[in-house]
Symmetry: C2
Subunit: 435 residues, 2 copies
């Protein structure tokens, strides 16, 4: 579902009704943003753009972060539910990860060759991911998804790539969400089908029979500005079987959810085997790294599609990643995130019932998407999140109104309960406002 | 000039002649490589692939690096002349840069928003680069060159991009050096002209009149496996004038050379003004960061071409970059690199004369390319570099046979003189071998 957002005029108009409530004290954020607007297109662009969150009603700049807490440049403290938009799976500044990265950095990070960490990390990941025989590394999720479609084309000597409409796989022309700078050739061999709509998938397969190189899917659908959607019945299974039967390479983009649902790749939760899986975000607990793993049948084409970057073999993010994976396994983090996520979900849903504004929870509890059930334009949900971001007694909750949230292993039950208290108070505040 | 390399059989055959010389002790490198070959396509891929250097006669894996020195996993120490393929402009593990990055990391690195460092760094870069009005950031050079061609297309609403044959701008399909995984649509709007050949440029401009969005050039031509070529007479000037007259966006890829020749961008050395300049490598002294800066006319199209990545706003590499730029300016590093580079060049050229094997030096002294004058297949030059990598008395010089070298500000005159002693001895050793 694609939901719509209010425009700024609507929000300003609503804020005027709240003359009793002081303006959110984002003065330093605004001052930095004014400076940024002079020297950076849009001031802040991309996924952290204020336009994608709560313009004027949430911070724009980060000061510091630690564990499950985040502070903006105006000194406001938040119980965090974004984890840096996903990378922070163990908590900000996790001491063991920082220590492993620091030790490696003392030896060397970007050098003339890879370090042994690259081999160790590839070995560890190939061990963890059931179908995989090899691993390569990049710095960003999109580095891997874009490379993976080329591997599919190299393997099959076919051109077409099928993907799900509205799914995010990066900024490259084949998948970018906005048309700026694109030419028709960028997408003439890219075709989209609808999530959970096998008929739309089968139609593409029939229409382009013998021409499809690869199919790219996420393990569940996680659009911005819309509910997460888990795969129906045999949706992923039919795609998997079709790819197998037709010699099409199945690419799983597990960048958003990877290591939060299952340490062996999110396909394990849904009972399929892709041919390539792409990871990033949680892989290094905030250190920049991404990886693609593939089946042994794809080893030769993988070796024929050029892949490199100035910092892509750097050792410190790989050392951080090795330690992150060790802790994820040692502490069974996916189970912990699921339990914490259920506590948060149950609490929020109960609060929605209590105040007569039912909340829709979608997606896995560890990476949930929330909104009010009775609206699709996020108008009140934005207000609810903005009030939670104002918080009370100096403590606020970072509730993103349009993007799935993320939990980390350092979140405690107390963090969840405090956030629920903030949410409870937000309902009270919201109900006191003129409608 | 595109030069050719010997194959491994030839080198093995030559090594057999050197029974008096022990095999290079790269045992740990080879053991890691055997493990890597199991789980990584090609073992090591990309620019650090052994196949691109001296397979069997140089290290494959890094253990540590400090200042101007580099150690492989077998414990061999090298006076380094690659600087991590460019990023290390101040020396490995530069204490002030490391301290700045560590301080930022203690506060936070990857967070929910950019930090003030992003604004400060954009302000600083826009101040440094004469024609620029704005700045954006990525993690890798190719992130910026690929985004820049989309900005050119967005600005002009035209499709075609002209680039120099053999120039490296990244791994993306429009510019990748190898055909693996590419389809014809990837390059149907990309056309190449020859470096220093204005007629080939003008032909493209005439043939595609009214259809060209952008022209991408490096400040000087720096192919692998070939001499660097400085721009002739008015080569870049004519391109600049043509772009200006035809409304074409001129993109300078300064990723390789940036901040080593001129702190305001390498175009300052050559007397042109591009519309966009792309930096990476030296920008963060090893921390992963890249940047593109552009003219005020391109601010709106720049804001319309989507750009983001999970770690692209992370604060620590930006803090490292701010400190790197401060030191580059404070210590007038380009002048220092030029002086050191001239000392190295003069010494190597003199040794070539002394031993009757003249050496061709090409490119700026800070990023030089060397080979023997009397061969174009690198056969003897590979041997010379391999002997320098074996070194003597436990100290070797990291001489890359097929890629331009890089100097750093931490290199001392003594480092250069020691490397020249190693080179002198390499000539003696080489002359003792059967030809």
């Amino acid at each position: 579902m694609k939901l719509t957002t209010e425009d700024e005029t609507q929000r300003e108009s609503r804020n005027e009704h709240r003359a009793d409530s002081p303006a959110p004290p984002f003065g330093k954020s605004m001052e930095l943003f004014r400076r940024a607007a002079e020297v950076i297109p849009c001031g802040i662009y991309g996924h952290q753009s204020p336009a994608a969150a709560l313009p004027g009603a949430s911070p724009y700049y980060a000061e510091r972060a630690s564990g499950s807490r985040y502070w903006d440049v105006d000194g406001r403290e938040y119980i965090d539910f974004m984890c840096g938009y996903g990378p922070i799976v163990l908590g900000y500044g996790h001491p063991e990860v920082e220590e492993a990265a620091a030790r490696q950095r003392k030896d060397g990070d970007t050098m003339n060759h890879p370090s042994a960490r690259m081999v160790e990390l590839a070995e560890r990941l190939v061990d963890m991911v059931d179908f995989s025989a090899w691993c390569v590394f990049g710095k960003n999720g999109g580095d891997m998804t874009s490379w993976a479609i080329r591997v599919a084309r190299e393997q099959t000597r076919k051109k077409k790539i099928l993907r799900v409409a509205g799914a995010y796989h990066g900024i490259d022309p084949w998948c970018s969400h906005t048309p700026g700078g694109l030419i028709e050739e960028d997408r003439s061999q890219i075709h989209t089908f609808k999530w959970n709509d096998l008929e739309s998938f089968n139609q593409l397969i029939r229409r382009h029979v013998g021409k499809v190189a690869g199919v790219v899917v996420t393990p569940f659908h996680h659009p911005s500005f819309g509910d997460c959607e888990m795969p129906d019945n045999d949706f992923l299974q039919v795609i998997e079987r079709t790819c197998h039967d037709e010699g099409i390479v199945l690419i799983l983009d597990d960048i958003r959810a990877g290591f939060r649902l299952h340490l062996g790749g999110s396909h394990r939760v849904f009972g399929i085997k892709p041919d390539i899986i792409c990871f990033s975000k949680a892989l290094g607990n905030g250190y920049p790294i991404s990886a693609a793993l593939g089946s042994k049948e794809l080893r030769v084409p993988a070796s024929r599609v050029f892949l490199t970057g100035s910092f892509w073999n750097s050792a410190a993010p790989m050392a951080a990643s090795l330690k992150t994976l060790e802790i994820l396994e040692r502490d069974d983090v996916p189970a912990k995130l699921n339990a914490l996520g259920l506590r948060l979900k149950d609490g929020l849903v109960a609060l929605g019932e209590k105040y007569g504004r039912p909340i829709v929870a979608s997606g896995p509890p560890a990476t949930p998407f929330y909104r009010f059930a009775d609206e699709t334009n996020f108008r009140d949900w934005q207000q609810f999140c903005a009030i939670a971001m104002e918080g009370r007694n100096g403590l606020a909750a970072f509730f993103h109104p349009h993007h799935n949230w993320f939990l980390s292993a350092t979140h405690s039950e107390k963090d969840i309960d405090q956030a629920l208290e903030i949410a409870d108070q937000a309902f009270v505040t919201m109900n006191e406002l003129p409608r």
